[in-house]
């Protein structure tokens, strides 16, 4: 695994003075992603927070080429980029599709599924703030049970889609989950993905202080609590074989997890949400754990 010192010595790919909210973890996530992948990268970015925070024309805070594209089209535009590189015999440049959860889990799902089924050569990172943060925090397909958004003012009813498992069913060379609070884990996963051909998918939990309503300085802390409470499970699958990442391994035992309440207590989106909804969230988490650990057992 890459060390913190190594990460720190990699060139800075994000230029200060961008338009992200103070404490934004998606800018942090892309900073890590581009540190991991280097300078020979072409990105496609659909409508999402990154399409705004990269900065307005004529300047950009991202130091690699970026193609901004329509909401549903991150994966398919990346397929085109990848197809053109292939047509031109370029085997070196990495194609990175970088999209939010709305653009991945919802409107862009068909396009990701298509690119994955074709095994087009790219790394697709869905950075998830669990809502349509860019348009003012509406419910997305990744919004967890009970979470309050502007379109679920009483709390989200029902369960989110697990895009990572959906992608896992596409028989891909690499699928993983990550969190912006654990850069070493994320960067190691990206670098592993970069060595593989085909479609690689990473789901990156990116806590959003604006959408989740917690103080900006707690961005890293909240992300860690997501993992420590078991709400976000870190795993990876190489050629379909699911394995819990070390950071989540110890939380396989529910007794070792921090209480969900501790993860939620600083999040305004859960303030005043009824016990039944919190219970539904816990049930969802437990269910996810049973799926992942079962699949991990099969993989052994």
């Amino acid at each position: 695994m890459v060390t913190t010192k190594e990460i720190l010595r990699l060139p800075e790919p994000i230029l200060a003075g961008h338009a992200a909210c103070a404490g934004c973890s998606s800018s942090l996530g892309l900073r890590y992603a581009l540190k991991a992948l280097g300078e020979d990268v072409i990105m496609s970015v659909p409508a999402c927070c990154t399409s705004v925070w990269q900065g307005p024309y004529p300047k950009s805070s991202i130091s690699v080429p970026v193609l901004n594209i329509a909401f549903a089209a991150a994966a398919s535009a990346a397929s085109g980029i990848s197809g053109a590189l292939q047509a031109k015999g370029n085997k070196d440049t990495t194609v990175l599709a970088w999209a939010g959860d709305g653009g991945s889990v919802d409107i862009g799902l068909a396009a990701i599924s298509g690119a994955a089924e074709r095994n087009d050569n790219m790394i697709y990172v869905c950075y998830s703030n669990e809502s349509y943060s860019n348009t003012g925090v509406q419910k997305s397909g990744a919004t967890p049970p009970g979470a309050r958004t502007t379109t679920t003012p009483l709390g989200r009813v029902g369960s989110p889609k697990d895009i990572s498992l959906i992608m896992w069913t596409h028989n891909l060379p690499y699928v993983a989950t990550a969190c912006t609070s654990y850069p070493r884990d994320f960067i190691t996963k990206l670098q592993k993905a970069q060595t593989m051909d085909g479609f690689k998918f990473i789901y990156l939990l990116a806590p959003c202080c604006v959408g989740w309503k917690f103080p900006a300085e707690k961005t890293i802390e909240i992300g860690k609590l997501a993992v420590e409470s078991g709400a976000h499970i870190l795993w990876e699958a190489v050629n379909g074989d699911i394995k819990l990442s070390n950071l989540s391994k110890k939380y396989e035992d529910p007794a070792k997890r921090k209480p969900l309440a501790e993860y939620l207590k600083d999040q305004g989106r859960y303030k005043g949400i009824g016990e039944d909804m919190i219970k539904a969230y816990q049930t969802y988490i437990d269910h996810q754990w049973s799926i992942i650990t079962s699949l991990a057992k099969i993989s052994q």
Binding site: S51, Q54, A70, S79, G80, I81, G83, A87, E117, R118
Partner: protein
């Protein structure tokens, strides 16, 4: 001109050749001989024949393109944008609902200034389901900035796809092209199509080298991020200027093509049976217009002083050219396959707007005909015009 070795291979013929092929196959041959590098397409009747032929070429090893078999037209257009922005020559083909489904990204490609070319098979829109010809699908995108060509026969489809690359990739244009043909009437009709030798075509159409922007890690730019209102007017008027300039570029490219290969189908428009004294002009488009040439002969034989203008290019619109041709006419008769609901035929609307900037005020007759591929026979069209002219007596 020498062709660099890294161009995708196209085993086009060494000598000029004629094939009896459908309009769909004509477009596919043109894409192959234009040495397209990336194709992204999704099947829809009646444009499927084109991408099936492309698949034959690619899998048969005679076309070096990378064919991305996308899961929707929306993704097809997005992939073209990604590939074109990475510096590849790109091609797709679609029709009707497919074109409408990709509409968001057709606009995106245009406003991003990407010179992609698509073969559009004009088809009626549902409901009710219909697979036959109607041009509203592409004409409904006339404000997008895409250059739009409406072909009258398979030869013109082939020639227009080749020329469209040259025009779209002109350093002053950089707009996409839609090369349109009527569903079945051309797309599924087999007719002889003459093709030049590959080497002569390579001389006419050199490899694509992006001049204005390219996704290149050695010179990184962020394309189409957020921009504030103050930048839009200049960028959008730049598109206006490019599309206006495209008129002369189309004329020059068509003339050059004619000189090299002997094929000419008009440039912005094509006239038939018109001289300075013609009093009555029929305006039509696509394959209907070629059949109406027969009607013009019939009417002339009956003593009527009629001629025909086929609007070949809808955008950029040949406004000055129409004003010049219609200076001294008495009546104008529109026969078109595309209504704009709530007003009139789409070409009639544009033509009348163009004439308004001149002095001519011909009496106009409007005929929306041939919807859902209904035959507009030469006899039927002649009869329409004759009835129009009788009302003047």
């Amino acid at each position: 001109m020498t062709v660099s070795d890294n161009r995708p291979k196209s085993l086009g013929h060494d000598e000029p050749k004629t094939f009896i092929i459908s309009g769909n196959h004509a477009a596919a041959y043109a894409a192959k001989m234009a040495r397209v590098e990336v194709v992204a397409a999704y099947p829809i009747t009646p444009s499927t024949g084109c991408i099936e032929k492309v698949s034959d070429f690619v899998d048969g090893g005679t076309m070096g393109a990378n064919y991305i078999k996308v899961e929707s037209e929306h993704s097809a257009a997005a992939a073209l944008i990604g590939a074109s922005a990475t510096g590849a020559r790109t091609f797709s083909s679609t029709s009707a609902h497919g074109l409408l489904y990709m509409a968001e990204l057709v606009w995106w490609a245009a406003l991003a200034r990407l010179p992609t070319v698509m073969s559009i098979v004009n088809r009626e829109l549902a409901p009710a389901w219909s697979i036959w010809a109607q041009t509203q699908d592409s004409m409904g995108l006339r404000d997008s900035g895409c250059l739009q060509y409406y072909c009258k026969n398979n030869q013109e489809v082939y020639d227009s796809v080749i020329m469209a690359y040259k025009i779209s990739e002109h350093e002053h244009v950089y707009m996409p092209s839609l090369v349109c043909q009527d569903a079945f009437i051309l797309s599924h009709t087999n007719a002889p199509v003459d093709m030049p030798a590959q080497k002569d075509l390579d001389d006419f159409l050199p490899a694509y080298e992006p001049k204005h922007f390219k996704l290149d890690p050695k010179d990184p730019v962020t394309h189409s991020s957020l921009a504030y209102p103050e930048h839009y007017r200049q960028k959008r008027m730049n598109i206006m200027e490019s599309t206006h300039r495209a008129k002369q570029i189309i004329k020059d490219v068509c003339a050059d093509y004619k000189k090299r290969f002997g094929k000419f189908h008009g440039d912005l428009l094509e006239t038939y049976g018109i001289d300075k004294k013609t009093k009555h002009i029929i305006i039509s488009h696509s394959s209907i217009a070629e059949e109406i040439e027969v009607s013009v002969d019939m009417l002339k034989n009956k003593g009527y002083d009629v001629g025909l203008i086929r609007v070949r290019v809808l955008r950029p619109f040949p406004d000055e050219e129409l004003r010049e041709l219609c200076k001294n006419i008495e009546t104008i008769h529109f026969i078109e396959r595309a209504p704009s609901y709530g007003f009139k035929g789409i070409i009639a609307i544009d033509t009348m707007a163009a004439l308004f900037e001149g002095d001519a005020r011909p009496k106009a007759f409007h005929h929306i005909e041939g919807l859902s591929g209904m035959d507009v026979t030469a006899e039927y069209a002649a009869d329409l015009i004759e009835k129009d002219l009788e009302t003047l007596k």
